[in-house]
């Protein structure tokens, strides 16, 4: 029982400290200056949460239900509170005034998300998915209704709609191309490595070494060779090849993606017991038939789990690719840092996180679907 109650206790403490000691909102005179903290709701929120924990502590199962429900409300409720409060502050302030969520808001929001995650643990997958979809949908509806219009993040987005949409598209294109390339090359390589155990050490060793090269360094290292390639074969240049841009970015991301794809392909092939393979061959299946009828159906969930990791990793790494001119949401982050515009940094970062979560969610759903069928 204690082990189940512990996360609730720790996360609640985190939310309480955040509410009580850290600013809920920041008010700044314009988008570049840092502002002063306001926490109009801190103490009432802290007190209300303390009351929820205390009242329900008598019965842990009931506490779990109540805490999970409040956390679920918090997912959409906290942004709504922040938006409403921002609107109130802006109603008698200058036009350039910006109100943005502070550390207190973010921590409470994180605590709510983690509490919900914990509370949903052990529920049926359908219930879990539904809870998150409804929470996410509520936020979208609130956003569409203008509930967050007062927050500077939304104002930043309104000001940069077109470049933002383009950056999302670029980001998805970078990650998508990488993923397809990694699957097309990594899966056969994984199969080859799996067939020749002796090659395993060499190939995996090289790929594992590549993983240790910092992404920034790898992007920088590729500028030289790719610039040379584009000069040596001008035809490549017309295809968008060059020292900077999408080509070296995708190449670097592909190098990082290879190791997990190779590893998980080999693990997927290993998911078929040796005896089953022996029986399949002995009964007269060709190598292709063995692969398509036995190894792929049985190893697919493992490979899919690997692709999920690669997808999330690639979306995160693609942010750095902006530094060599590949575009994507990383551009918002680095431009924002350069200008000292926190909202722009945040806009890029949040979008990357949401993209990663969405992709992760899609993969999980597909995985759950395949496993239910199996």
């Amino acid at each position: 029982m204690m082990s189940r109650a512990l996360p609730v206790f720790v996360l609640s403490a985190m939310a309480l400290v955040a509410a009580a000691c850290l600013p809920f909102l920041h008010v700044a005179p314009n988008r570049l200056l840092s502002g002063h903290a306001v926490s109009p709701l801190a103490w009432p929120l802290a007190a209300a949460w303390l009351a929820v924990i205390a009242v329900t502590a008598v019965r842990i199962p009931m506490q779990r239900v109540v805490v999970t429900a409040t956390a679920w409300f918090g997912i959409a409720g906290l942004p709504w509170l922040a938006g409403a409060e921002a609107q109130r502050i802006l109603s008698d302030a200058s036009a350039t005034t910006r109100v943005q969520p502070g550390a207190g808001f973010w921590l409470m929001w994180l605590a709510a998300a983690l509490l919900l995650l914990d509370g949903l643990r052990g529920r049926r997958p359908a219930v879990q998915v539904a809870a998150w979809i409804v929470a996410g949908f509520t936020i979208v509806v609130l956003a569409a209704a203008g509930a967050f219009d007062g927050l500077s993040l939304v104002r930043e987005w309104r000001a940069q709609r077109a470049p933002f949409a383009a950056a999302v598209a670029e980001h998805l294109r970078l990650a998508g191309t990488t993923l397809v390339l990694a699957l097309l090359t990594g899966a056969p390589l994984g199969w080859w490595v799996w067939r020749r155990r002796r090659a395993d050490g060499v190939v995996v060793g090289i790929l594992a070494f590549l993983q240790t090269v910092p992404s920034l360094a790898l992007f920088a290292l590729l500028i030289g060779p790719f610039a040379w390639l584009a000069r040596a074969w001008p035809a490549l240049g017309t295809l968008g090849f060059g020292g900077t841009g999408a080509a070296p970015a995708v190449f670097a991301l592909w190098l990082y993606a290879l190791l997990p794809v190779v590893r998980y392909t080999a693990a997927g092939l290993d998911a078929v017991p040796a005896d089953t393979r022996d029986a399949a061959r002995g009964l007269g299946m060709s190598r292709t038939q063995l692969l398509m009828r036995v190894q792929l159906p049985l190893g697919w969930p493992v490979l899919l789990a690997g692709l999920r990791i690669v997808a999330v990793q690639t979306i995160g790494l693609a942010a750095v690719a902006a530094l060599i001119g590949a575009g994507g949401l990383g551009r918002f982050v680095f431009l924002g840092i350069g200008q000292g515009a926190t909202d722009m940094v945040l806009l890029g970062t949040l979008a990357i996180i949401v993209l990663a979560l969405l992709v992760d969610f899609v993969f999980q759903a597909v995985l759950a679907w395949t496993e239910r069928r199996a």
């Binding site: 005896d275 029986a279 061959r281 009964l283 007269g284 036995v294 049985l298």
Partner: protein, 309 residues
């Protein structure tokens, strides 16, 4: 007819099969028996080319297996192994249908054959063909493995310790099923086991393999009565050889026709081992013998002790 002609096989310098020659006739239930590492499984696997030979040749009906397309060759030979190796993502029916499907049989024929095999192997639990292997008992899984090996009506079936992992009762029941099916269909079976009792129970002929060579080949009673050397004598049973012999011979061989006896009767087709067990159970030294339910004679303990070489 399967023919091994001076077959040699090494694994990394270690000699596993040593210049071995052997002929297995059509319709024979042939058992290769021997201790672990004697090369019996390797020899079996040279027939469907899961193991390539280093020297010599394996021929089926006079044709070198190497001259045939490997997949066509294997689809024409049944194959069952100890660990069964069923496809966990396929139903029982789909598992059984593996080879007919590879051979492109019409769907209706496949369905009929699956139904037939399910009955033949007494897998007649309702709906069993639509269940997945993981929901079956070990014995049922092995029955499915045998059904899968027999599905395309192969003339030759290779079986590598198919009943090794089963409990004694399930094993005996499956041995009975297999022997009956083999007798009815005339299939040639090459069967590998390390269990001497299983070898004598099933085999028309038995070959004892030691260190990659055939130590002796012959009918079970040949090996028991005329072991080629002391090592063969040790393997076929030493002091337990007579007990094994009782398992191979039937009551018909030793009964006294027309003599009376008290107690519960045994059948003429029962093994002498069964008759001995019945005597011990009933605490009698002679029992009546029935044939088709009618009293035909008696079986006497003294005859079991005295008979034989």
């Amino acid at each position: 007819m399967i023919e091994f002609d001076h077959v040699t096989k090494r694994f990394g310098g270690h000699l596993v099969i040593d210049d071995l020659s052997l002929r297995i006739d059509d319709g024979e239930f042939f058992v290769l028996v021997g201790p672990s590492g004697s090369g019996k499984s390797t020899l079996l696997r040279t027939v469907n080319r899961l193991v390539p030979v280093d020297a010599g040749a394996v021929r089926i009906d006079g044709e070198d297996v190497l001259s045939r397309d490997v997949e066509t060759l294997r689809r024409g030979i049944g194959y069952a192994i100890q660990s069964v190796g069923l496809f966990p993502h396929r139903t029982v029916g789909e598992n059984i249908a593996t080879v007919p499907r590879l051979l492109g049989w019409p769907e209706g024929d496949i369905r009929a054959r699956v139904t037939e095999l399910v009955e033949l192997l007494r897998l007649d639990e309702p709906g069993i063909a639509d269940r997945y292997p993981a929901t079956l008992s070990g014995g049922q899984q092995q029955r499915v493995g045998v059904a899968r090996a027999l599905a395309a009506r192969p003339r030759i079936v290779l079986m590598d310790e198919p009943f090794g992992a089963l409990d004694p009762i399930t094993r005996e029941s499956l041995q009975g099923s297999l022997k009956a099916i083999q007798r009815d269909t005339g299939t040639t079976i090459l069967f590998v086991t390390h269990d001497m009792d299983e070898a004598f129970r099933l085999g028309d002929r038995v070959a004892l393999m030691l260190d990659g060579r055939i130590a002796q080949v012959g009918a079970p009673l040949d090996l028991l009565h005329r072991p080629a050397n002391d090592r063969v004598r040790d393997f076929v049973g030493g002091t337990r050889a007579r007990l094994r012999e009782l398992a191979v011979r039937t009551v018909r061989d030793s009964m006294r026709v027309g003599e009376p006896a008290e107690g519960e009767a045994v059948d003429v087709a029962d093994s002498l081992q069964d008759a001995l067990a019945a005597m011990l159970a009933q605490r009698r030294d002679r029992l009546p013998v029935n044939s088709r339910g009618e009293r035909v004679g008696a079986i006497v303990l003294a005859d079991l002790v005295a008979n034989g070489p």
